[in-house]
């Protein structure tokens, strides 16, 4: 038995210690906003926050989260950075198919929470682990700048 703190709620789970958080969230807790993309920490679709830090839930066992605060896409809008990111994502129509966007929003929210006015290099560093096959990268970059109140430059 393990107790997880998910979006502020304690959840008691009878689950093996090495079960990745991704499958615990999706299959056990039916919280499907966190997405499966690669299972190997390569694409970022499964990004969640543990104590505010972005982690890839597909390669993070539940044992690593015991006693720590887990935040998922379902609750990120309640944080100041998450709220700004979601608003900017909507204003610039970032998502296309939308499948990777939970992870993108989580990585961007962590970036903004840590770095209020990120540079292009900051954005590259924080977001390079998140793949988008629809190629929404130009809008992700612009939306992060919009959320941060940084002026973007024209091509």
């Amino acid at each position: 038995m393990i107790t997880l703190n998910v979006n502020g709620k304690p959840r008691n789970l009878d689950i093996a210690d090495d079960t990745p958080l991704l499958w615990t969230l999706r299959d056990v807790l039916n919280m499907t906003g966190t997405k499966f993309g690669c299972g190997a920490g390569l694409c970022g679709a499964c990004t969640i926050h543990i104590d505010g830090q972005p982690v890839r839930s597909c390669i993070t066992p539940v044992s690593a989260a015991a006693g720590r605060r887990i935040t998922t896409i379902e609750a990120i809008g309640a944080t100041p950075a998450g709220k700004k990111v979601q608003a900017a994502w909507q204003a610039l129509d970032v998502p296309q198919c939308g499948y990777c966007q939970s992870g993108q929003v989580m990585s961007a929210s962590a970036l903004l929470a840590a770095t209020a006015r990120p540079s292009d290099a900051d954005i590259d560093n924080a977001m390079a682990g998140n793949i988008c096959r629809c190629g929404t990268y130009p809008r992700i970059r612009a939306a992060i700048k919009k959320a941060a109140g940084v002026t973007d430059t024209e091509v």
């Binding site: 694409c43 809008g77 198919c97 629809c134 130009p138």
Partner: protein, 721 residues
């Protein structure tokens, strides 16, 4: 195209009106499926509506529609078409998929659906506006009758009919029951483009909220009471068979309930995906590698090369290219090769099935619900009514979800499982058991006169025919019209042109559609070879193209505009270069300039892409820009890194580590400009991908002098060993 000509339906029963269940107006109308347009207009087959517009007593407008959203923005652009003519705000138009268990909508809607081929706007631009206009006319008529005034004294605006002289008003909701009793007008006038209020104006997407807060539901997000999870593994070699599994070890993994054996695959069923995955590893399936156990990419390429020695089915024959090349001062030859490609959509393949004696419910995101339903009927022996497809948002399509292989596999597994089961492909399984964009082998030749001017063009395409499997009637005189697209109809004005097609299937490797289909396939060799001819003639690649496009003003225009935008011709530092390419496809004209910087170690960094699009009438300009950005990133991923290679009968790549795709730090700055005109709307989902590949490799040539004739670029731009 004159919009007025399109406004009169050719058959009076093209629209039907009835009272909706629970009150209100229900208009049924036809949206042509691909290849079906002509049949609908000319045959006497009974009209079966496949799309519905419902307005209820509260004035709520619902569009029940057959086109699926996979990122391309149709959930916004199609409601815009209706709202424009119906005179309501776009966000007042709600979208529903056909409820599969609803007798009114189910069968006609699911009959002939295919979302693909950049067709969504092209096939709906007139019918949706006509439906909106028809409903508006009926609502205005109902209001005029209620007030006992002439309809011409009434106007519709924002969901309300207004009697102008008196200022009286009635909401659409108050008029729907009366309108439903009126005859459907045979002709309605559609707006002239000058009167559009919505079409051509950027409109925010309607599907964004759920995609930024995790509530949007994709097929993989299906959750049902008692649902189990299964992870599947197919024979790693194409055509191999399952020999044995260690069922005891699999079942020793906590949570594993069952091992499902199929002829050529195995699945482990458990209480969650992780347990199933662990169980599958423990099961350690053993395989008989089968007849393709020795196949490698090199064998496949050798077969293609040999097949391309002989003449193929003729796709185009202007003048006598062979004779003109033979007597030319010089002959230029080139072979272009394009690799197998996976789709690698972000949502891995998955399908949830609940199969009972009574029927089969399927939860999946698919571009082809009708074909999927038919395949499941064939597999299970169930009737159409018993096979219910619950379609979902697609976590990327790119052509992968134009196939039903995943659903068939999931149903095969469900045939052995009690209760609902979600079958998931790991990323490795998804990449190693895709249906791949075929390997293509193109031979091109040109005859050049003493002044360096090209006088004749010959192009032979060799590869797998997707059409021959997917839709054989499209094959005409042995020519696969998709495989020769953008090649047979290339726009350049050479007097002698010969294009032919040789079908050569790779042993055991399943092939299918991939973003841009034949246009992507053809644009790379054509735009590369034209660039070669320009270089050979020592001409500027832009000027060389423009001189050959006298009969093609739209092509010429996009090329010239993208050149202006990109600063074409301005000097760049050593190691940098600009490349240009033209793409004509899906009814659209696109030109792009890519600027690259090539490092000393051969690493290619695309830094800028300028894109000019002439897709005729623009419905949602911001969606067009988004689709270009998307297509460019997708095409650059493939051109720089994308390839599936075969060794010992199996795919070598496994995950995003060795099937590389572009990341944000590798993405160039992209600028998209749109050409405004009133030409018929063209498709925009795919040609951005098609155009960028040759624009990239032409830029590499400009930067390094190295001509890339084989994709992906990989490390070919390295100049020193």
């Amino acid at each position: 195209m004159n919009t007025r000509d399109l406004a009169s339906p050719s058959r009076r029963n093209f629209l039907t009106a009835t009272s909706a269940i629970g009150g209100g107006l229900l208009l049924g109308f036809g949206l042509p499926a691909r290849g079906e347009v002509r049949d609908t207009l000319t045959t006497n087959a009974p009209f079966a509506p496949n799309a519905f517009l419902r307005i209820d007593r509260t004035g709520k407008v619902t569009f029940v529609m057959p086109v699926i959203e996979m990122g391309q923005g149709t959930y916004t652009s199609l409601p815009m078409l209706i709202a424009e003519e119906l005179e309501v705000d776009v966000d007042k138009v709600a979208i529903e998929h056909s409820p599969p268990d609803d007798k009114v909508y189910a069968n006609p809607l699911i009959g002939a659906q295919l979302t693909g081929g950049s067709t969504s706007i092209r096939s709906t631009y007139v019918p949706l506006r006509r439906a909106g206009a028809t409903a508006r006319v009926m609502l205005v008529t109902a209001a005029a009758q209620r007030w006992n005034v002439a309809p011409s004294t009434c106007r519709a605006q924002k969901g309300v009919v207004v009697h102008a002289p008196t200022g009286r008003k009635l909401g659409y909701g108050e008029l729907v029951d009366a309108a439903a009793k009126l005859p459907v007008p045979e002709k309605v006038a559609l707006k002239e483009p000058a009167d559009f209020k919505l079409i051509g104006t950027p409109h925010r997407r309607l599907d964004t909220t759920g995609k930024v807060n995790g509530s949007a539901k994709f097929g993989i997000d299906t959750r049902l009471p008692g649902m189990k999870f299964a992870v599947v593994a197919a024979s790693p070699t194409f055509g191999g068979r399952l020999v044995s599994v260690d069922e005891a070890k699999a079942k020793a993994v906590p949570g594993v309930s069952q091992v499902v054996r199929l002829d050529d695959a195995v699945a482990v069923v458990a209480i969650h995906t992780w347990a199933a995955k662990q169980g599958l590893a423990a099961a350690a399936p053993q395989w008989d590698a089968g007849p393709n156990a020795k196949v490698s990419t090199a064998d496949i390429v050798a077969q293609l090369a040999a097949a391309s020695e002989k003449p193929g089915a003729v796709a185009r024959h202007d003048g006598d290219a062979a004779a003109a090349i033979a007597r030319a001062a010089q002959k230029i030859d080139a072979v272009y090769e394009q690799p197998f490609l996976a789709h690698a959509a972000m949502e891995p393949m998955n399908c949830t099935v609940h199969l009972t004696k009574e029927g089969c419910d399927i939860w999946v995101g698919t571009q082809i619900p009708g074909m999927t339903q038919a395949a499941v009927m064939k597999l299970t022996g169930l009737t159409r009514e018993q096979v219910r497809i619950h379609n979902h948002l697609l976590g990327g399509g790119f052509g992968r979800r134009l196939e039903y292989d995943g659903t068939v596999r999931a149903v095969q597994i469900a045939q052995q499982v009690q209760g609902p089961v979600q079958v998931i492909w790991t990323r490795e399984e998804d990449i190693q058991h895709d249906m791949y964009r075929p390997y293509y082998y193109d031979r091109l030749s040109a005859g050049v006169d003493a002044q360096g001017k090209a006088v004749a063009w010959s192009h032979r395409i060799t590869g797998s025919s997707i059409v021959a499997r997917y839709f054989p009637p499209w094959i005409k005189d042995g020519v696969d019209p998709d495989a020769v697209d953008a090649s047979a109809n290339q726009p350049y004005g050479f007097s002698d042109i010969h294009v032919d097609w040789v079908a050569q299937e790779p042993p055991g490797i399943p092939t299918s559609w991939w973003r841009g289909v034949g246009v992507t396939r053809g644009t790379f060799p054509v735009e590369s070879f034209v660039d070669e001819l320009a270089a050979h003639a020592k001409r500027d690649p832009l000027a060389y193209r423009v001189a050959l496009l006298d009969k093609n003003p739209r092509s010429k225009n996009v090329l010239q505009r993208v050149a202006e935008r990109s600063g074409w011709g301005k000097p760049l530092p050593a190691g940098q270069g600009r490349g240009i390419a033209l793409c004509i496809g899906f009814g659209s004209f696109i030109a792009q300039v890519v600027q690259v910087s090539v490092d000393k170690d051969g690493t290619v960094n695309p830094t800028h892409v300028w894109c000019v699009v002439d897709c005729g009438i623009q419905v949602n300009p911001d969606t067009i820009r988004a689709q270009m950005e998307s297509g460019i990133v997708f095409g650059l991923s493939a051109a720089l890194h994308g390839q599936i290679t075969i060794k010992d009968g199996r795919v070598e790549q496994t995950n995003f580590g060795d099937y590389r795709v572009l990341r944000i730090n590798e993405t160039p700055r992209i600028r998209v400009d749109l050409v405004k005109n009133l030409e018929a709307p063209g498709g925009i989902g795919e040609p951005g991908t098609s155009c960028v590949m040759p624009a990239l490799t032409n830029a590499i040539f400009a930067a390094t002098g190295k001509r890339i004739r084989k994709l992906p670029v990989g490390d070919q731009a390295r100049t020193e060993a």
